[in-house]
Each structure stands twice: as C-alpha cells, then as structure tokens.
C-alpha cells in the first residue's frame, strides 16, 4: 500500500543526510553555501563555501585613483555603506596627513552612527523574523527608510552611498537633512523601546535564543572576532573607544558588553548600541551648534575635488581638478593601517602606497569574513533551526564576506 519507506523510532538510521544550505537560501540572507551533514535535525559537520559574489575589489583598487575607490567600499557592507566610505576617507587622510575640521568630524559621526543604527535595525529585525516574529521587523523598517532619506539629502543616494570625499563632504548638510535628522531622533526611540518590549522578555523569543550558540571570550578572541559579536562574549573591544578616530574622544558613550556570548546576548548588545548611537548623534548635534556652519571639508585643494562651477570659471580650481584627476600630486611612499568600528566589527584598511596615482596594494580587513569562519565549527552538534538563527545573529553580509 505504501510505496515509500516509513521510519519509526526503532529504525537504525546510520547514514547521515546531506543538506545544501544555500547558495541561495532565504534563511541565509545572502549568497553563501553551507553543506551540512545532518543526523536527523542535528548538525554533525558543516563546510562553508564562500566567494559567490567575489568582485576582486582589491585588484580593481590597484588600478583606481584614491577618490575612485570610495564606490568600491560602498559595496562591502551594503547595509552600512557610509561607515565603509568614511573609513576609506580617513585611511587616505591618515596617509596624506590631512587634519579635518571638527565640524567635519561631527558630521561624520552623525552619518556613521546613523549607518550603525540602520545596520542593527536589519540584523535584529531579521533575527526576529527568523524566530517567527515578523512584526518588530516591520516597525523598525520604517525608520531605516527615514535614515535612507537623510542619506539622500546629504549625498543623493540611498544604499550604495558614496558619501563624503577625501577631506570632508562633497556638499554641506542642508536644512532638510537636519530637520529629517531631528525628526528621526524624535520618532525612533519610542519604536526602539516598543521593539525591545516586544522581544527582550518575550518568552518564545528568549527560549529560542538564550543559550544558543554560546561562545566563550577565549574562543571569540582566538577566532579574531570583533564588533557586537565579541562584545556579546564580554570583551569590551570597540575601536571607537580604543583607537578613537573622527573625534570620538570628544563624546560620552558607553560600550555595551554581554555576558554569555549567545544569540540573545548579541541581540541585546546590538539594541543597546542603537541607544548609544542615538546618544552620540544628539551630542554631535549639540557640538555642531558651536562650529561655523559653512565648513564641510578640510582645506586641501590638492586632494579635494573642487565644485564643477569653479572648475569652469576659476583657473586655480581647474588646475587642481586636472592634477587630482590625472594623479599628478605626490603622495608619501609608505604604508598605513587604519581601522574603524564597522557595524559588524573592526573594518580595517591596509594601504601600501608607492607614490603613484593608485594604491600599490589595498587590503580590506572585513569583519564578516573573519567572524564567519567560526560558523561551521560552532554549528557542530547544533540543531538546524538554531544554526539558522545563529547565522542571522552573526549578521554576515555577503558583500563584506567576499569583497
């Protein structure tokens, strides 16, 4: 009567089944593959395959002048592109010894913290979706849209922002941008509070996430974890606090740390970081009031592209424009490593310069790439459903994974 085998509890199932999780699986939120050996629902072993959207950015960067590399960095972690852009600008500024005005630093802090919030909105929202709670995700998504509208006012684009230039910003923030920012600061906290109320003490959510994928601080450091994942294990390493850049030393903020290093702790750390980011933005707005309103870039005409009207009407600007585009300006022959606190951890730029118009070598230290390598080893012995939410909480962004 039945033409397929029926297994009972007494049947020996000695052969593990193989599951291809990915390359395009809805639960992975990106293009990467894990080949899992399953014993029932339990994972025996896994092999991660990455590189599906490798675009050879490091090779391309060797053939581009510095100012043309910014759009490449957009496409690393595309959930928080502005942090990548700013990190790259600051690397070049460090190389060239450019001192940016305080106002530029504070504007950058605002944009970077907005980017961090938008990244954490996605990560924590999706973690809710993967545990079966769609509502919180939709509540939060509205505010990511508000953040993208602020980007739009500042640079004209939303996802791959290409925001800022070497030395500052391409244009000043307009009143609409500030108004939208103030509106966001007013609207977002109640939603975030509501989001926390939905999840933090929600029995179903806590049962699904607490004690899942616990990582000890020793393991996390051994695997070079950084960012919210490392802090969830209890190590208070934050690049913003340890090696302040862009005047973060002027600000008063806390580095939230977790305790157990499990999925729940990572969720809490990210939520708390959003509160801290809001604090930073508010402080930056206060500090901006004391700064002259017309400064939005450093005075470095030999590296900062002049506005087009000036190029057409002003000889000096035309000369500098020509020199920048043709790469006629000498740059120091040296090497520099600069890192910023990306949404996922330490985003580093290792730049070897030979004085030419393009980098001799540029290496991105991509936090997702480094964080994700622990995924397969740590999945061993885990339930498949737990491995899925573990992946969401790692917040692996395929663009950053593959570069």
């Amino acid at each position: 009567m039945q033409n397929h085998p029926v297994y009972t509890d007494n049947d020996p199932q000695t052969v593990p089944s193989t599951l291809n999780l990915g390359p395009t699986h809805p639960a992975t939120h990106g293009v990467f593959q894990n080949v899992l050996q399953l014993d029932g629902e339990r994972i025996i072993s896994g092999v991660s395959t990455i590189g599906y959207i490798h675009r050879a950015f490091e090779k391309i960067a060797e053939h581009r002048p510095f100012y043309q590399i910014t759009p490449l960095t957009d496409r690393l972690n595309y959930c928080s592109s502005p942090i990548n852009n700013m990190g790259w600008h600051m690397t070049v500024e460090k190389l060239l010894g450019i001192e940016t005005p305080k106002r530029v630093d504070y504007l950058r802090v605002i944009i970077m913290e907005l980017a961090r919030i938008s990244d954490h909105i996605i990560c924590n929202g999706v973690l809710g979706v993967d545990t079966g709670a769609f509502t919180g995700f939709l509540y939060m998504m509205e505010h990511r849209e508000a953040i993208y509208e602020i980007y739009e006012e500042v640079c004209g684009s939303r996802l791959t922002t290409n925001i800022g230039r070497i030395g500052g910003f391409e244009r000043n923030f307009n009143t609409i941008a500030f108004n939208k920012l103030r509106k966001f600061l007013k609207d977002f906290p109640p939603t975030l509070k509501e989001f926390e109320n939905l999840f933090n003490r929600n029995r179903i959510f806590v049962d699904r996430t607490k004690g899942v994928a616990c990582v000890t601080p020793e393991d996390a450091l051994n695997y070079s974890w950084s960012g919210p994942l490392l802090r969830a294990t209890g190590v208070d390493y934050d690049v913003r606090a340890m090696n302040p850049y862009s005047s973060y030393e002027d600000f008063d903020f806390e580095v939230p740390v977790g305790q157990d290093g499990d999925v729940y702790a990572r969720f809490l750390v990210r939520n708390e970081e959003m509160w801290q980011s809001l604090r930073l933005i508010e402080q930056a707005l206060v500090k901006l009031e004391k700064e002259p309103t017309d400064i939005f870039h450093a005075d470095v005409p030999e590296f900062y592209l002049p506005p087009k009207e000036e190029v057409y009407n002003n000889m000096e600007a035309l000369i500098y424009h020509f020199k920048i585009v043709m790469g006629e300006i000498d740059t120091p022959v040296t090497e520099v490593y600069h890192s910023v606190e990306g949404a996922n951890g330490e985003l580093g730029f290792y730049l070897v310069n030979d004085g030419g118009r393009a980098p001799y070598r540029l290496h991105f230290r991509r936090p997702s790439f480094v964080n994700y390598q622990m995924y397969a080893p740590m999945s061993r012995g885990m339930l498949l459903s737990d491995a899925i939410i573990n992946m969401s909480s790692l917040n692996v962004i395929a663009g950053e994974l593959d570069a």
Binding site: G51, E62, N222, T334, V352, R365, F369, Q373
Partner: protein, 165 residues
C-alpha cells in the same frame, strides 16, 4: 596611545629575536623577520605576560615583482590590554613561497591564510585545509600577483576598434 611604547615592545622582542626594524609608519611598529622564526616570534609576543599581543587582526600579502624576495606576508597583531599594534613582515624568495602556518596559534588565521594562498599562492605549511576560498577551485593563477592582468587579455568584446579607436 598604548600603555607600552613601541621602544619597550621592540626591546622586549630584541631580547629573544634579532629582527630588522622597517619603520614606524603612523606609529605602528613594523618589523621584519624570516620564515624560520616567524611562528616562534608570533608565539612569543602572543604569550608574553607583558606584551599580550593576543589579537590577530589580519594576515595578508603584498607582491613586489622583480625583487629577490617578491612576496611579503604581513601580519597585523594587536594587544587589547596594552592597546599597541605590531606589524610583522616576512619576505619569501621567488619560487619558494612556503611559510609555516599560524593556525597553530590562532584558529582565526585559517581563512586569512586561505585568502592569502588564494590570491598570492603563498603555501602555508601545516595548514589544515589550504584550499582556495573566494576564487573558483579550478583556477590556476594567483590573481593578486602583479603580472595577472586586471582584465582577461583574450577578451574580444572590448577591442578598441569596436569603439572607433
């Protein structure tokens, strides 16, 4: 800056190893050693009670063609306690791209070394799983070497005459 200075860091290393100082670009002490001593050097700075450079930030390589030792493998280390960073370089002779693996010290070195192998062909002896990571498995070239062109020279769809040049 950090709790220990670069001089103290260098003195501490010099007690045990003879290293060449490359410089201190932007305050980051850069030293050069050879592949015979690299792992013992990394082991020393990682486990030394004072230095505690326990955090492996990055492993990568740079290709300098037409030099005697064309491949430089570069390690970035960070001490979270002292907040001091260290860059270690090892230059490998042409045609002999072997270096011992750092996976014995950090599990996190695994993919960093695979990436370096994938792009530069550096063979990390003793690595548990030295396969390509971002490029396809059947690729034969090492694309981040300088002789590898940015675009496939055999492409016909981008010839100049298509564009009236």
């Amino acid at each position: 800056m950090g709790r220990i200075t670069n001089e103290e860091l260098l003195n501490k290393i010099n007690e045990k190893f003879s290293v060449t100082v490359v410089g201190e670009p932007y305050g980051l002490l850069t030293i050069e050693t050879d592949r015979e001593h690299i792992i013992s050097l990394l082991d020393f700075v990682k486990n030394d009670a004072v230095l505690q450079l326990i955090y492996l930030t990055d492993i990568t390589a740079v290709h300098y063609p037409e030099t005697e030792k064309p491949i430089a493998v570069i390690y970035h280390l960070h001490s979270l306690v002292n907040n001091v960073r260290l860059r270690v370089k090892v230059f490998l002779p042409a045609g002999d791209d072997h270096i011992p693996t750092a996976t014995t010290l950090w599990n996190g070195a695994n993919w960093m070394e695979r990436e370096t192998y994938d792009f530069f062909g550096v063979i990390f002896d003793g690595h548990p799983d030295l396969r390509r990571i971002l490029n396809v498995d059947d690729m034969t070239a090492f694309p981040m070497r300088k002789e590898f062109p940015l675009e496939d020279p055999n492409r016909v769809d981008k010839k100049d005459y298509f564009f009236g040049r």
